[in-house]
Amino acid sequence: MTSFTKPLIRRKNEPTNALGLIRSDYDGAMSTLCAGCGHDGVTASMARAFFELSIEPHRAVKVSGIGCSSKTTAYFLRESHGINTVHGRMPSVATGAIAANHELAYIGVSGDGDSLSIGLGQFVHAMRRNVNMLYMLENNGVYGLTKGQFSAAADMGSTAKKGAINELPPIDPVALALSVGATFVARGFSGDREQLVPLIKAGLKHKGFGLIDVISPCVSFNDHKGSTKSYEHTYKYYNPAIHADYVPPSAEIKAAYNAGDVMPVELHDGGQISLRKLENGYDPRDRAAAVNKLFESAQSEEIITGLLYINEDQKDMHEMARMEDRPLNTIPYAELNPGAAKLKEIQKGFR
């Protein structure tokens, strides 16, 4: 079996973006995931976000680890380079790639097994380094490819398909991200593209490490009664609290929102993220408030979603390493070679 190519269908009067490309130009190979998988919704949202941002597909890079979610990097942006690395180690490969060329748009796709168990260390350290990438954590609380074991994101008391009860506390990637220095921390739901697509756009435009923890139900192994990552459970407790829109540098901010509801956050590219639906003066630039809100909502069993925290002031890895503006991979060798005369001079110190 080889991978399936998706048929390219061009419809009349299809909307185009600023590059003249249509939405399906951002598609990839046919998905081989189960019918109804939350991940396919996330894949479509990512493709749409790149389309709406008018990013040239070949200027995007997709990185992933191993697992159902990691496979999805083949299912969108067929004209982008993609790299499906080893289990739990996508962040390091992304870190090296971004060090070599920081000018591309990097999107990492991972799952709760890949990020929170085998890859917990790399996930945390990429956040600490504030690597400039958007990290999509497609969270279904379960291992799919190995058929239904609990992941570290499974809630206490949650049951497996065959009835076993999870007694271990979960690792919440959002709480983790807030504590180790991620500078864009959000939660989304694969079933709410209205909220997810703008979040992805904002995350891609944010300079630094962006995490979107996306609740993305597994229809085959974790969509039953007793699961806290099922469609039914998620819809029941879902609270789309903070809506974030990316506003490009040139565009005027739409006047449709009430001034009091909208909080603009300036981005490095000159654009803005405008935040809507803020409750009672909640300020997503305040990390302590974000932590509080997260834990309060967890206590009330509510699944709070949206952009919970943003910090545009923290230096990213490129800045911290004091690298030149030119990508490292474009510096000509002539500028890197100190030459024979210099070698002679250096060795005077070894006589």
Partner: protein
């Protein structure tokens, strides 16, 4: 009383680590080197920061031998903890110098040596006020005493101290004072001891004293590496330290302070491996320095880079295993690990430097080979080469060098193509073309460690899978004449007798092997010797084996790892190869090799 030995003896200093003895010993070695006499320095140190025994050996060798002698002629026994052992190690007729501020146990003595007591602590305590200076200057004072015994050149000492402390001139006087304390005392009390002397020669003028980690780091700069990732591990840390300091010197824009490099201290070796893979995949020359435990951790990624065909350069500064082993002791114990690192069928390119000069060259080779063959390349150094200062010919650089960036398609190349397929063998040389992210939509492909066909698509089809892995093997094999060729040292006369014996060895064994062979020649035994420098093995390796009847394979590990690789890769009868193995963790000495060869030769000739 034995006769006076000039420029041919070994000094060993036994000390407590963390007392500043390293700089005193470096000073002592440099004085002799500056007098134009070749030296060999070996640091035998503990895995500890302060308080455990440490030794430093300086061999003075007018003939320019590069290995250890296996003898100690002048022992400076500064550490009461190791005093008994140090005393026992001294060769008959040797000199023992110790600090006689406190009495040493009278039962610990020998009649066949000369004992010299110098009140180093007493003199330093009287001369220096600060406690730390008293400890440090005690070491400088023994350098003074040794200088008196060996007739070292005081002007050179003066010059060296001025150079060493150019930025802290106050320390020059302090050190000179300490030198005088030891020097004057020894001259006054032991001026008649006439056993070992250094006489000035002109044998070091085009030489430098460098360690292999420094030269490898420098090689990465000259080879154009812009990205390095690493996790601190003894004994590879100083390689990255060197790369960092040369980058700071050579790659920082003086106006903006911006860097033309990026170095990342990773959270572990797994991440370091992933980072250099990511950077190389994206077109930046990159590398990681590590040691055996790091290779173990990186293995999954090494297999990924092998199968997905991504350049990767690893420096393994080998230390004794297994497990944590003895982290500060040397061995050549990762040969088999690196040859096959990772699960599944994997074979890698290995380079075996024998000295710091080859570390420099092979760093550049490795960066070229990794990009040419799109695969992991290992430089298998060790503690002896990596961390000891070796006297080497001054490094040279060819300003016409052009890096071999391998088969990377540009947008212009892609414009002329119908379709790009990542793993297609277009040129029939087993090496496919690759593209870099961000350059052109036509060059996009999906990199995967899962089964893929020659077009780069996912596959679970056996025939498609085999086609790719068979090409990978052919690609690896084709590197045989691209790695540095073996060096054959023919015996000065054709080997005698009805059995043609020969030697194969590698890396840091070289100095000891060459010297042992010289010694055998002086006894009428003639052996050809081949030093292997790369894997896959060059055709010359098989020719050499075929041309001899019995071959001694000398290496520094328990399991005869090089011998095993020769057997698995070359059609040779098992009984033709005879292992000679040294794996105590101390750098190889020629006496060991000479004795082992002598014993084997005797037995085998009798059997024949």
């Amino acid at each position: 009383m034995s006769e006076l030995r000039v420029n041919d003896f070994t000094i060993k200093v036994g000390n407590v680590n963390g007392t500043g003895s390293a700089s005193a010993n470096a000073l002592l070695m440099k004085i002799i080197f500056r007098m134009g006499v070749p030296v060999v320095g070996k640091n035998i140190f503990p895995s500890n920061i302060q308080g455990l025994p440490t030794w430093y050996e300086i061999r003075v060798t007018e003939k320019g031998y590069r290995g250890r002698s296996g003898d100690v002629d002048l022992m400076v026994a500064m550490n009461p903890e190791s005093y008994k052992r140090d005393l026992e190690e001294l060769s008959p007729g040797g000199i023992l110098l110790y600090d006689n501020t406190w009495p040493r146990p009278h039962f610990l003595t020998r009649n066949d040596i000369t004992v010299i007591g110098v009140p180093l602590s007493r003199m330093c305590n009287a001369a220096f006020k600060v406690a730390r200076s008293r400890i440090l200057m005690k070491n400088v004072a023994y350098v003074g005493a040794v200088a008196a015994l060996l007739d070292l050149d005081l002007d050179i000492i003066n010059t060296l101290l001025r150079e060493m402390f150019a930025v802290k001139p106050k320390l020059v006087d302090l050190n000179l004072q300490a030198i005088s304390l030891g020097y004057d005392y020894a001259k006054q009390h032991f001026g008649n001891v006439n056993k070992f002397k250094v006489k000035a020669r002109d044998l070091t003028s085009d030489k430098v004293m460098m360690d292999g980690n420094t030269t490898a780091g420098l090689g990465c700069v000259y080879g154009g590496a812009t990205f390095g990732a690493w996790y601190p591990i003894t004994p590879s840390t100083s390689l990255m330290d060197a790369f960092v300091s040369y980058c700071k010197m050579l790659r920082v824009d003086p106006d903006t302070g911006k860097h033309k490099y990026c170095i990342t201290q990773a959270e572990d070796e797994l991440a370091a491996a992933g980072m250099i893979i990511g950077a190389a995949w994206n077109g930046a020359r990159s590398f990681t320095p590590t040691s055996g435990p790091g290779i173990s951790l990186m293995s999954e990624f090494i297999g990924f880079a092998y199968y997905a065909e991504i350049p990767m350069v690893l420096f393994d500064i080998q230390r004794t295993g297994p497990s944590t082993g003895m982290p500060t002791r040397t061995q050549q114990c990762d040969i088999q690990l690196c040859a096959h690192a990772s699960h599944g069928d994997t074979k890698h390119i290995l380079l075996f430097p024998a000295d710091p000069s080859e570390c420099f060259d092979m760093a550049v080779n490795a960066l070229d080979l990794a990009e040419r063959f799109q695969t992991p390349v290992f430089v298998l150094s060790d503690i002896d080469v990596g961390m000891n200062d070796w006297m080497i010919d001054e490094l040279t650089w060819d300003d016409n060098y052009v890096p071999d960036r391998g088969k990377v398609l540009t947008p212009e190349d892609l414009a002329d193509m119908d379709k790009f397929h990542r793993y297609l063998d277009v040129d029939g040389d087993h090496i496919p073309y690759r593209t870099l992210p961000g350059t052109d939509p036509k060059g996009a492909y999906f990199t995967r460690g899962s089964g893929h066909n020659k077009y780069g698509g996912y596959t679970e089809d056996g025939a498609e899978y085999k086609e790719v892995v068979d090409r990978l093997h052919a690609k690896w094999a084709s590197a045989a004449d691209k790695v540095p060729a073996p060096i054959i040292n023919k015996a000065s006369k054709p080997p005698q007798g009805n059995i043609k014996f020969a030697i194969i060895s590698l890396g840091s064994c070289d100095g000891a092997v060459l010297e042992a062979r010289d010694k055998l020649e002086s006894e009428g035994v003639y052996l050809n010797y081949m030093r292997v420098r790369g894997f896959p093995f060059h055709d010359i390796v098989k020719d050499f084996i075929d041309a001899h009847d019995q071959i001694f394979v000398i290496e520094q590990n328990r399991d005869a790892q090089l011998l095993g690789l020769l057997l698995s890769e070359i059609d040779v009868p098992r009984e033709k190869l005879i292992p000679i193995l040294h794996y105590s963790g101390e750098p190889l000495d020629y006496k060991f090799v000479h004795e082992a060869l002598g014993k084997e030769l005797k037995t085998r000739r009798q059997v024949a």
